[in-house]
């Protein structure tokens, strides 16, 4: 039904897929698993025609994809359902179900009765009782997912791709979803099912394909493979200290969190301690609550309960400016959007967080700014045409060096880093790791959120694993193994 052979895709020089192969039969539920960043999403984007691969072939039902446009994928019967339903919030359920299916002439009259009837039929097929006149915005998440599946039925999907559909469903809703998928399987639809919940596989999937670092490492019958063997396949690379770890003396606690809960952010009863000079790695799957924890600490999400001590003093996060003033800095995950101000120059970005240090009686000393910026650019090895170049024109790695380097002007007490080397090339990665080590050596406490195990194993002194909003496991560096960390992240007991 679907054959993907040796597909590769790079974004701006970063390889998302190297060599992905996959074959899915009609009437099969085929699971696709892998670590964060293994290339699952990119593969889905290729199949749905959102991106064109650099190499490789995709054949669907005997037809080879050539143009890789959404129209082509659609014509071949590919429909994808994402973790966050993509319905038009201001349109009714009936309109959402009709989009892309009705005769699309600009001046054709809409037959509302037929449209509503068709919508009711589709919803009946997925066993949903939803008023077709409701706005999509008013649907609950499971309802919206049902509507999306109904839309896939309406589109006469031959290949249905589900990307972590159960991430936010209750067990009963999961059961219904699985029954529905069983029904589709009997109708001969091929289903690709992406999940982090390995325990779902035996109930649902026929076969499973493991992706690692953008390449397929194997396809197995679900019945014939143990979960811990799957985990080993997903991790399965040499995790060595590729990044030189600087050993520095560990001092007194600088960030202490006791029983911190923030229900709105999905953070439950988190306790952890970071000491001066210590780099604490925070591992976990996407959605485990790591970024949310950082946002609570930084005052971007309200905390309900718990106590935080910063450098020995009670700390109540209220706003980023308050957190920074007390010595807590945060480097957000989405660098291009939030880590740097793209329109501002290298100099302005480096001094923006500590403008006061460059002002006398409210007036900025551009001279002092430039001196400091020149020193930092030199020390960090930022490759830039000039100090006045907008950060927009720098490469990802150099943008990140600027984002990190600004905290060298007036070092904070604690630095929370969220995926600091995501999408950064290898050379810049090592330099960023060196920089993080230097900051720790200066007595900072570093909380390092990372989905890359080699990074965490390379530079962290201790490794914490988050799962479902809380700390699920903690390992000293010497005792941690990638398998144990992944098992904790997936919520399975480590293999004996």
């Amino acid at each position: 039904m679907l054959t993907v052979s040796h597909v590769a895709k790079s974004y701006d020089g970063v390889r998302a897929l190297r060599d992905a192969s996959l074959d899915v039969r009609a009437g099969e539920v085929h699971a696709l698993v892998g670590e964060n960043g293994a290339g699952k999403s990119t593969l889905v984007r290729v199949l749905t025609g959102a991106v064109r691969p650099d190499a490789g072939q995709v054949t669907l039902g005997g037809t080879r994809m050539t143009r890789f446009t959404p129209q082509e994928a659609r014509a071949l019967g590919v429909v994808a359902i994402h973790q966050h339903p993509a319905l038009f919030p201001d349109l009714s359920v009936a309109e959402n179900l009709a989009i892309g299916r009705e005769p699309a002439g600009w001046l054709r009259r809409v037959n509302w009765t037929a449209r509503r009837d068709a919508a009711r039929d589709l919803l009946a097929r997925v066993g949903a009782q939803i008023d077709v006149d409701r706005d999509a915005a008013s649907l609950s998440l499971p309802e919206a997912q049902l509507v999306e599946i109904a839309r896939a039925l309406g589109a006469e999907a031959r290949l249905l791709i589900l990307d972590e559909p159960t991430a936010s469903l209750t067990p009963r809703e999961v059961d219904r979803l699985f029954e529905l998928l069983d029904g589709l399987r009997r109708e001969g639809v091929a289903i690709i099912y992406i999940t982090h919940r390995l325990e779902e596989l035996p109930r649902l999937a026929d076969r499973v394909t493991v992706l690692r670092d953008g390449a397929t490492v194997g396809t197995h019958e679900v019945a014939a493979i143990e979960p811990h063997a799957l985990i080993r396949l997903m991790v399965g690379r040499e995790v060595s200290s590729v990044f030189p770890k600087r050993e520095v003396p560990i001092g007194e606690p600088v960030l202490e969190i006791e029983g911190l809960s923030a229900p709105e952010a999905g953070v439950h009863d988190v306790s952890l301690t970071v000491r001066r000079g210590e780099i604490v790695g925070l591992a976990g799957l996407i959605g485990a609550g790591r970024t949310e924890l950082a946002r609570v600490l930084f005052g971007l999400e309200p905390a309900a309960r718990g106590a935080i001590r910063l450098a020995g003093r009670p700390f109540r996060p209220r706003s980023p400016s308050g957190a920074i003033a007390l010595g807590l800095a945060y480097l957000p995950e989405d660098r291009r959007r939030h880590g740097v101000v793209l329109d501002l120059s290298v100099t302005a970005n480096l001094t923006l967080a500590t403008l006061r240090a460059f002002s006398r009686r409210g007036l900025l000393s551009t001279q002092a700014e430039r001196t400091t910026a020149a020193r930092l650019v030199d020390a960090l090895g930022v490759k830039t045409a000039s100090l006045d170049t907008p950060v927009r024109d720098l490469s990802g790695g150099n943008q990140q060096k600027v984002a990190l380097g600004r905290w060298l002007v007036q070092p904070p007490q604690v630095l929370v880093l969220d995926e600091p080397t995501q999408g950064v090339d290898v050379g810049a990665k090592a330099e960023i790791h060196r920089l993080i080590g230097d900051l720790a050596a200066d007595g900072l406490g570093v909380l390092l959120i990372s989905s890359e195990l080699p990074e965490i194993f390379g530079i962290a002194d201790r490794i914490l694993v988050m799962r479902a909003g809380t700390i699920a496991a903690a390992f000293p560096r010497a005792e941690a193994t990638p398998e144990a960390v992944m098992a904790a992240a997936f919520g399975r007991p480590p293999a004996a």
Binding site: D12, G13, F298, S319, P320, S321, A323, I324, A325, Y330, P332, R337, H338, G339, V340, V341, L342, D343, L344, A348, L352, A353, L355, R356, S359, G362, L363, L364, T366, R406
Partner: protein, 319 residues
């Protein structure tokens, strides 16, 4: 640090071309008296544009600027007629403008409403409140000290031009060397980044709207002082002219990019083109159309240019 960068270059080149063309084809444009009148007519506009630059840099827009301008003039006129000393009346009117700007800013930051909606509502409220109070009638019987603040025509003219020059220099300088100026660029460029860096975007936006209201009010008072009577309604389309000048001067309407120099060039270009056309013998009815074409060209330069560059860079990185 005062220079004409890539963003200001099109307006600078356009202005230079226009001035050269006028020098060659219609030297009458350079008659000192005509030039002086042109400057005097555009000085208040330049002051409003300085305020608008702040708002646009913050990533917002203020379409109530013209209404504030008109209302401030009426307030100054009425207070002066009722016997308030003229300087006090002028100050009160400018501060009222600042107050209206503050309300705009509060509605935008506290309620999270889009600035175009807030300031459009403010425009309608001010216009109709004014119509209701004055019935559209001019404010007459002003004390002798109202026109030119009683300084006489020559000193009064000088005062107006000096005030405009001072404000332009102050705003341009402040944008460069004040922390607030840097914060304005950062917030307009990327609000979320700015917040994560510890800046307070709400305060920055509030400040921009308040300053813009204050400058619009001040401009309205200074403009009114050129005449012996004050019109009882708001000027027509002043805010659009000002926004156009800011955009033509190279500011990105999405915020974060632009400069006071650019805005100055924009005001000069749009201001000179109308009079210039008359001198070139083109019918004045083409003025608006040509201004529209210039605005369109400015927006094209702003959006098509970067796309080209991005495409070129993308191609280079794949090579």
């Amino acid at each position: 640090m005062i220079g004409i960068g890539a963003r200001e270059r099109p307006a600078a080149l356009g202005l230079a071309a226009l001035l050269l063309l006028l020098a060659a084809a219609a030297p009458g444009f350079y008659d000192p008296a005509a030039l002086r009148d042109l400057l005097l007519a555009n000085a208040p506009l330049l002051i409003v544009a300085a305020g608008m630059t702040l708002v646009v840099l913050a990533g917002h827009i203020d379409v109530s600027a013209g209404a504030i301008f008109g209302v401030a003039a009426v307030i100054a006129g009425v207070l002066a007629r009722e016997g308030v000393p003229v300087p006090a009346a002028a100050l009160a009117a400018a501060l009222a403008g600042g107050g209206i700007g503050l309300v705009n800013g509060l509605l935008v930051t506290r309620l999270g409403l889009p600035s175009i909606v807030v300031t459009l509502a403010m425009l309608v409220i001010l216009r109709d409140a004014l119509r209701w109070t004055t019935d559209g009638a001019w404010i007459r019987d002003l004390p002798a000290g109202f026109q030119w603040f009683g300084l006489g025509q020559d000193a009064g003219r000088l005062l107006l031009l000096a005030a405009a020059a001072l404000i332009v220099v102050a705003v341009g300088w402040g944008l460069r060397v004040l922390g607030a100026g840097r914060a304005l660029y950062a917030v307009g460029s990327d609000l979320e980044s700015a917040r994560l860096l510890g800046l307070d975007p709400d305060r920055v936006v509030l400040g921009a709207f308040t300053a813009a209201g204050l400058l619009s009010g001040l401009a309205g008072v200074l403009n009114a002082s050129r005449f012996a009577e004050v019109p009882g309604s708001i000027p027509n389309g002043l805010e659009l002219e000002v926004i156009a000048a800011v955009v033509v001067g190279g500011a990105a309407i999405t915020g974060g990019r632009g400069s006071m120099i650019g805005t100055g060039l924009g005001v000069a270009l749009l201001g000179a083109i109308g009079t210039g056309l008359t001198f070139l013998g083109v019918s004045a009815s083409w003025e608006r159309a040509l201004q529209g074409a210039i605005i369109l060209a400015a927006i094209l330069v702003d959006t098509v240019g970067p796309v080209r560059r991005r495409v070129a860079r993308g191609a280079a990185s794949h090579a």
